[in-house]
Structure formats: C-alpha cells, structure tokens
Amino acid sequence: MLTVLRGGHVVDPATGKDSVGDVWFEDGKIVAPPAGGKADEDIDCSGHVVMAGAIDIHSHIAGGNVNTARLLLPELHRGIRARLANTPLSTAKWSTYETGRLYAQMGFTTVIEPAMAPHHSLQTHLELNDVPIIDKGALTVLGNDDFLLRQIRAREPESAINDYVAQTVGSVRSLGLKCINPGGCESFKENMRAFGLDDEVPFYGLTSRQIFQTLQKATQAVGIPHPLHLHMNNLGIAGNVQTALDTIDAAQGLPMHLAHVQFYAYGKEGSNAFSSAAAVFAEKINANPNITVDVGQVMFSQTVTISSDVLKQFNSMPGGSPRKGAIFDGDANGGGVVPYAYKISNYYNAIQWAAGLELFLLIKNPEQVFFTTDHPNGGPFTAYPELFALLMSAELRAEMMSRLPAEALEHTTLPSLKREYNYYEIAQMSRSGAAKLFGFTDRGSLAPGAIADIAVYKKSRDVAGMFRKAAYVYKDGDLVVKNGEVSHYKRGKTLHIAPRFDNNINKRLDAYYAELYGLPRGIFDVPDAALPHKDAFAEVACKE
C-alpha cells in the first residue's frame, strides 16, 4: 500500500532536508515520490514535523540488573491498583510491555540496551524480545573478565584478542562492545574502593588505560561499526573531569564513544568542593572529532541507578534513597542497583543537572553528542520530552535555574548559554547521528530505501507535550501510534552483528570453561530456538 504524508515540515538531516514536503512509503520502505502521484492513503501533515523514528543509543531497558531493580523496588510498580483500559498489567510500570509502549508514543523506534553481561545475555534477549513495537539492540561488556585480562597479561598477539572479542560480541547477539570501569570492577573484588586510569589491577598488573586501548583497537580490527563504548573510571566523583580529559588523550585519535559524560564533568571549585567542569570537557570534545559522547542528563525525580560499575555502586549505597540496594559482586563486572532521588533543592544534583545541559549546549556538532538520561540512572526515559524542551528554550532553562540553589549557579556556565536547539539539530542528535554511530544504513533517515520508521509530531508551543505524544508513528510502515496513543502492537526485532573470527578460539574457550567453571560454554549461548519467535533477530553488517 502506497502512503504519503503530505505537507509536513520534513526534518531529515540524513538527506539535509529541512522544509515542507511529502514523505512517501510503500511495503515498509520509504520510496521516492512516484511519477503518477496517486497514493492509496493520503495523510495531511500540515502543521506537523515529520522525522525519522528516533534512536536511543543508551538506555538500560533489559538484563539482569534491570530485573534486580524491578525486584528491589516493587513499590514503584505496584500491581494492586485498578487497571487502566487497553493494556494488560498496565499498572506494572516499567515492564517490558510498558517500555515499548512509552517509547513508541514518543516516536522512538530503536533503543539500545548498553550493558549486557555476556553470561546474562539470554535473560537480556528474552526481555528485549518481550518489548513490543520498537527495534532493540544490546552492547555486551568486556574489560573486567578474567579471560581477556589473562590474554593481555600474557601479551598474546592482537589477533587472539580480536578473535575473543569477535566471538563474544557475535555469540551473545550484541551490536558492539562496552567497557565499564576497565579493571576497576575486578579490583573491587580485591577490596580496592577507588580506581583511576593508571592504577593497576591486582594480580593482572594491567592499568585501565591498557585495557580499554586494547579493546578499542580490537573493536576497530574486528569491524564492529560502533566504536568502543566506554564507561570511564571515577564516575560521579568531584574533580573527575581530569580522568575524562586524560581518557580522551589516551584514545590516540581512534574512534571511541564515552557514555553518560555528564557524570564526569565535575570540578572541585566552591565551598562544597563540587562544581561543573563541563566547559573544559566540551572544549576537549570539540577538539577531538574521533570522540562521541552521550550525556546522561540528570532530571529531577525519584529514580534508580543501575550499573555494572560495582565499585561505584558500592560507594553509592549510603546515599541511596530509599535506603536499600543490591550489590552483586562477581562474574567479571558484577553490578549494583541503588535507588536515588535527584532533588532540585540539592546543591550537588543542581550542579549535575546544569553540567549535563552545558555539555549539550557547548558541544558544537550535534552528531557528536547524543541524547540520553542514561535511563534510569539520570532519570527515566519518560523525561525525554522535558529535556527536548529545555534544549529548545533558553527561557525555560532560566525559569528552572531560578529554582536551583543560588550557590549552584556560581559554579556552572549555564546561565550564560543562550543557544537553543532547533528541530534539525534535535533530529541530528536523535536520528541521523545516532544511526551513523551504530552503522545503521536502513534507519535514522527518510531517504528512499530506508525502512519506514517515521515519527510525526504536531507543532506546538508546548514542546514537551509535542514530543511526549507523537501525532503518528509508523514502524516498518505500519501505523502504531495515533494521537499519542498506541493504536497497534507489533513485534520489533533485535539487531545484532556477526563479526568474523578464527574458530580456534571456540576450542580454547571450551577448554577454559571446562577447567574454570566445570560447565559447558554452550549454556550461555543465545540460539534462535531460545526465543519464542523465529524472526526475532536481524543482522546489521560489519565494516569491511
């Protein structure tokens, strides 16, 4: 069926379009306007903004830690109240079902879970598979695992390490590689409670710098489209901007993605010895085009922090609110779940909020900075519309700033920043740039041939409201959201890559598992048959 979205303001940085026009699609793909110009369905989009479906590059929506958080905080998703219409278990907030529904309503059609521990991949994929409508993907995590650290310690050739990386990324059906506090989590098990860029991991004698540089090179060599996704050391600590600047220098000009950088933009100025250092950080990022970042913006609300950085999470336990948490110390990274409430009246939280916005506004290239709250660590993804509104209005930011502690404003450059994002920059950040970052050629774009993932928003002075409830959302050409409500549920796919490697690594790993765990390695695999639907996966091509 040929459909045309007629007369909308088409914002598509992938093709450079930012003007009123028509978007045609047929059989799930965008097509060029046909010669005859007669559509089976003609939808009037005047007064609307038409963009490709949005891509969230870093959002913890599935996996062992997410499930632990659900169990730890039943009070956030009680199932004993009245059910709303239309949805099964609609009061069970934060279920896989709700995740798909809420993302789709905001016009998001692809979401990446950034921290899938290799041994938890089956659980993660079962959860992802249960998220309706949107396409999903996951990054897997290496860098604190014994096998890799042994390899580096033994100075094995790069080819052996590349094989291990490729084998892991492929067998757990991930989209790429993440490294979380490299070496820090392993050191935590040896009772270290702080771990910097050049500290040594006990027994392995390796530094954080060595570990991520190795993985950075392997990621490139294996042809993984997404650069190494790095969660640096010293997250959330005053003065940690130095770690971030040193990490960028250590990247040696190779591509690297730094995750939730807001949590690293802190100086030590002021009477609280805590200030925003976002300005220097942003300057460094502007000067290093090999670096991409996502922000991890803090939004004031009750949330829960979920991280495989067990060292950081352990240190966060005393500040948890409500005062409970779960720490899991084992299997490479381990992890921790600590509830937290970001308060507008809290000096530290106010600095965090301001530092995140500074990064958004000071980093010049919107395809270098990505839109995240590190859901749920800085705030739930449902706060995105409010964040879009803040980026697009200096006035709104000023109004929020008037409610912050006055002292906080002295230690951030935010009051002096008047930049306002426009639709085009928003689309670069959340569509075209995000697609490029993951090597997606079929999405984040409205060019003919791309899949028909399209979000249409009714223009409004209330920017948050506009982005919260899309007027129309199409997934693979099917109308899934109408007037801000899901009108049709369908299954999305899980995207993954399959890098090539030498099969000898399998034999080596079989022997390693048999010796160390006494278990067959195959129990951690994610075969097609493990998931309830045959066509659950879709492969993304690697770089040559």
Binding site: L72, L73, P74, E75, L76, R78, R81, A82, R83, A85, P322, R323, K324
Partner: protein, 269 residues
C-alpha cells in the same frame, strides 16, 4: 450534630477502593459530587451512589452503616482531628498511611490493616488478618506511630517491621508475631505461635502467655520496670487487660541476638 453517614445498599459486586471517602477529602463536596466518585477497582464502573445511601452530617465524624470484607483502604491517609466508624467488616489496608484521627471497626479487618499508620488510633473489635501494621512489599518500615487495638485475633506476622507506636492484640496472635521488628511496642494477651520476635532489632514484645522462644533470645531474669507501670497507666483506657499485664512483675528476654539484639520480650513470671 449527627455523623456524615454512608449506608450500604447491598454487598459490593467487586472490591472497592474507599480511600477517597475520608472526612477531610469530602469537605466542600456536594452530595451529587460525592455520589459520582468512582470507587471500582475493575473494568466495571461502580460509583459511591451505586453502593451507598448518603446522609449528610458533621464531617468531623464519618460512619459507614454496614461493612464488607471488600471495603479496601478505609480511612487511608486520615488526618488528625477526624474520626471514622465502620459498623461492619472492612477489607485490605484499613487506615493505610493515616496521619492521625480515630478509626473504629465493629467487625473484622482484612490484611495490612494499619499498614504504614503514622499516628491514627485504630480499634478493631473483631479479628485482623495477616500482616497487621506491616509495610507493603518494597517498603522499609511498617507502622511508624499511633496505636492499634485488636479485640479479637490477629493473623500471621502482625507488627512486621513495626517502627514506632503501640500494637495491642487481645486475642491470639498468628505465626511470627513481631517479625523483623525495628522498634515500638507489641502487647499480645492470647497465644502466640511460630518464631515470635524473629529478627527483632530493638522493639518490645509483652506477652501474657510464655512463648516458645528461639535460642537467640537470652534470659535477663525478672525485672522491676518502672516504665512498665507508666505504660500500664497510659494503656488503661484502651485495654484494661493489657494494663494489668504490665502491672505485674515481668521476666525479660533480650534479643534477637541474630541481629541488633537490643529488643526484648517481657512475660509474667
């Protein structure tokens, strides 16, 4: 002036959420508005007017003529200075998160009665089901203030994670009375069962019948406790039997030493 009265027309066809019907929240609403309040908990709609005949009166005191085990959240978040009486049974979470005031129930109460109560005086003339004054799943503390008197029996795990306040059970208590007790006082006049005071941090349990204690409670011998006599005096109006239990010489067991161990179980010699 007479009380503001809800008279039950017939047994409700589904569980009803009555948290909206507390005196403070009804203030300023017209009769027609009140009758339109939605109280259903399923897809089928049920409104206040469908279930109750309303007689307007002084909103300081509110009465339900007739009750049901399907009446959930009666007196939830009640404020100080108001009172509420139910001439019948109530369902789950009676007086949930009440800040103060007085609630009396002529019949029995469902599970989680007085859950999260912060200051209300609650009297249940019949029995209470399990998890009396306990927290809901995920919450860290149960009742944190106020006073609860149950004239009949209480179900399992009464006083679970009690944080502050006094709980008096005149009948028998179910299994694991005062489990995970943080602080506060529980007085039980009937029989007890199971692991009494399991993981008690620093709460006080006063038991009329000598319980089978776990090995993590240590005998501290008979005590002359001035405080017990003061407490007895303050309890006289609520429960004469509880007051007389506290007026005799008591033996003290310290525990639960499996945890913090600053709690106690007091029983008559």
């Amino acid at each position: 002036m007479t009380a503001f009265t809800f008279t039950l027309r017939q047994e409700p066809p589904q569980r009803v959420d009555l948290s909206a019907l507390t005196p403070d929240r009804l203030a300023g609403k017209s009769l027609a508005d009140i009758e339109k309040i939605e109280i259903g908990t399923t897809r089928a709609s049920i409104k206040v007017g469908d279930l109750f005949k309303i007689a307007q009166g002084d909103l300081k005191t509110l009465r339900y003529e007739g009750g049901s085990s399907r009446f959930d959240l009666v007196g939830a978040k009640l404020l100080p200075g108001f009172s509420l009486h139910v001439d019948g049974d109530v369902g789950l979470q009676l007086g949930r998160l009440a800040k103060g005031g007085k609630i009396t129930v002529a019949g029995s109460a469902g599970a989680y009665a007085a859950s999260g109560n912060e200051g209300a005086h609650i009297e249940i003339k019949g029995d209470a089901c399990e998890l009396l004054a306990a927290p809901l799943a995920g919450e860290l503390a149960g009742m944190s203030g106020g006073r609860v008197v149950v004239r009949g029996k209480a179900g399992a795990r009464a006083g679970d994670r009690l944080r502050r306040g006094i709980l008096i059970i005149e009948g028998d208590a179910g299994e694991d009375l005062g489990s995970r007790l943080i602080a506060g006082t529980i007085i039980a006049l009937g029989k007890t069962a199971g692991r009494v005071g399991y993981l008690n941090k620093r709460g006080s349990l006063v038991l009329a019948k000598h319980p089978k204690l776990s090995a993590t409670y240590l005998d501290c011998g008979p005590q002359e406790l001035t405080f017990a006599r003061l407490l007895a005096r303050s309890l006289k109006a609520d429960s004469a039997a509880a007051a007389s239990l506290l007026s005799v010489k008591l033996r003290r067991f310290g525990g639960d030493t499996a945890v913090y161990g600053k709690g106690e179980i007091l029983t008559p010699l």
